[in-house]
Symmetry: C2
Amino acid sequence: MHVTIKHVAKKAGVSPSTVSRVIADSPKISVATKKRVFETMKEMNYQPNIIARSLANRVTYTLGLILPSKDEEVFENPFFMQVMRGLSVYAKQKGYYIMYNYCRSEEEEVETIRHYMDSKWVDGIILTSTRIKDKSVDLLMKRDQPFVVIGRPEAQRDKVLWVDNDNVMAMENIVNRLIEQGHRKIAYIGGEQQFTVYRHRLRGYRQAIEQNGIDWDDRLVVEAEPTEQKAYEAMKQMLKIINPDAIVGTDDTVAYGAYKATIEAGVLGVAFAGFNNTPLSIYNNPTISTVDINAEKLGHYAAQVLIDQLEKNTTMERNIIVEANYIERESTLDYVRR
Amino acid sequence: MHVTIKHVAKKAGVSPSTVSRVIADSPKISVATKKRVFETMKEMNYQPNIIARSLANRVTYTLGLILPSKDEEVFENPFFMQVMRGLSVYAKQKGYYIMYNYCRSEEEEVETIRHYMDSKWVDGIILTSTRIKDKSVDLLMKRDQPFVVIGRPEAQRDKVLWVDNDNVMAMENIVNRLIEQGHRKIAYIGGEQQFTVYRHRLRGYRQAIEQNGIDWDDRLVVEAEPTEQKAYEAMKQMLKIINPDAIVGTDDTVAYGAYKATIEAGVLGVAFAGFNNTPLSIYNNPTISTVDINAEKLGHYAAQVLIDQLEKNTTMERNIIVEANYIERESTLDYVRR
DNA sequence: ATGAAAGCGCTAACAA
DNA sequence: TTGTTAGCGCTTTCAT
């Protein structure tokens, strides 16, 4: 039979509530009994039943992680894996568990969240991507559910917990650097602006262009689904009307896809840079300049911010900006243009 | 206040137990009351509290997923992500949840498993890799905990639930094909044999070599940590004593690492093939021939086999072999050797 | 076919 | 400092 708090109590010659207090390390228990109870717990190899504790506490020590289910994004990009590890390591250290769910659409996302909340399964929820007008965020806000966003919600930003890079600045830095290197016709290939992350990166691009007094050229800007294939096609179109001398993409695969189109078109020496420091960027020939967004840290801090809130640790910050590092490799250095 | 079974009962004019029976779809409830209760449930937007149900049932509808925490493996290789999605999709459909945990070592793995069992958090456990002498497997067996292995335990194979590829045959096929293509000095670069998967792949290599009447040559076989770097170093060593005309690696990065060493050494025209159909294999130049092990299916079936056992659905099989497909690309076709 | 009541294992308010 | 007792929300005998 499974050993419960009652068995321990009986054997230690105390009441169940005393045992419970010992577990909670209540300060009102004498050191003597504490010691005795602990010993019997060891002897009997007692482990608290988390489910029972959760029911009594109305707390589960479990966080729900919402993952998007786009093949390319999730599989080719280590981003999510890194985030998951960051979350896991911190959560474990704090005694929390993480459940994950893939959601194919915004509807499924909302449904999953609703289910988590109604069934009282999780104490808090982690969102790994966010749109400008995000139904999940709205729902969570309305129901007053603790949650954290990896990325940055556009609306009610001050009321929401979030952890993000400074994507505006990250992109601005790349473009500034490219300009410094002599480029003037820099193509931007990015995801759709409904996603905050892409909106920010485009903003960074725009700011760099403007700050450097370069004329804005719509023909150099493409917003599409951020996959290699789409980027490739987009660049093919672009080349019919204008030849860029550099490319920035919101992911390594995107940058590379676009670059491939320039090669095929015989437009040589185009510099290109991406985001996410994917394996592609290391293994590709030329190696790809890219921004490491420190996904594992994003996960780590997301867990931290959320757990702090759950435990009413109000001293902690509600938002964290994780640094992003631009890694220059061959694709923007001389190698590629000789 | 949160709506419970009691509220529904009162509003529907029945007892809590009746509501409970309606939820469980008990056959001894009249159709009329069933309908009425269902309606009130909708009206009140009632959702069962999973924790309470779990406590009463002594069942959590949750599976624990154990992940290794080696950087290279977990991040550069979409294997785990794909497995996770396969698991998630099937589990969700069956009403199960999945918790995941990264474990840095076999000890941490054992500790995590023990914790899951003792605290009664999960109904079943999923292992994503397995050694020849696996402490986790031993523990789970001893405690009679339901679990499934992705991969194949060496010991007590008939008593354990597992889902795996036929790694012997997969490797045998590659090597046979390379031999058919005229290669005779085929280097094998693989992980250590303490992991079942690598033991099997080496066996497949050996069988193909022997079947084709090729003399066994120890100098062509390397077992090391399966990373690009180690493979690169290993090949550098090998080239001092023998030049292979083809390379098989137990992962794309491994095959590529070894190949890189041949290029640097000026040994040209070496064919190479890997495993896992990673992004690297598609983006690399040349593209890499590789085995797609259908990781998402592995996950899917693992969940299925485990849940079947949990629900005592004894009609289902206890082990499943998922097909592995060899994808020939440039690295073993003429392109690379011209 | 339905209800009353006990219990899953733990916590916490109230007493002592 | 410790014990008693009444829940947490749901399931499940045992009656009726």
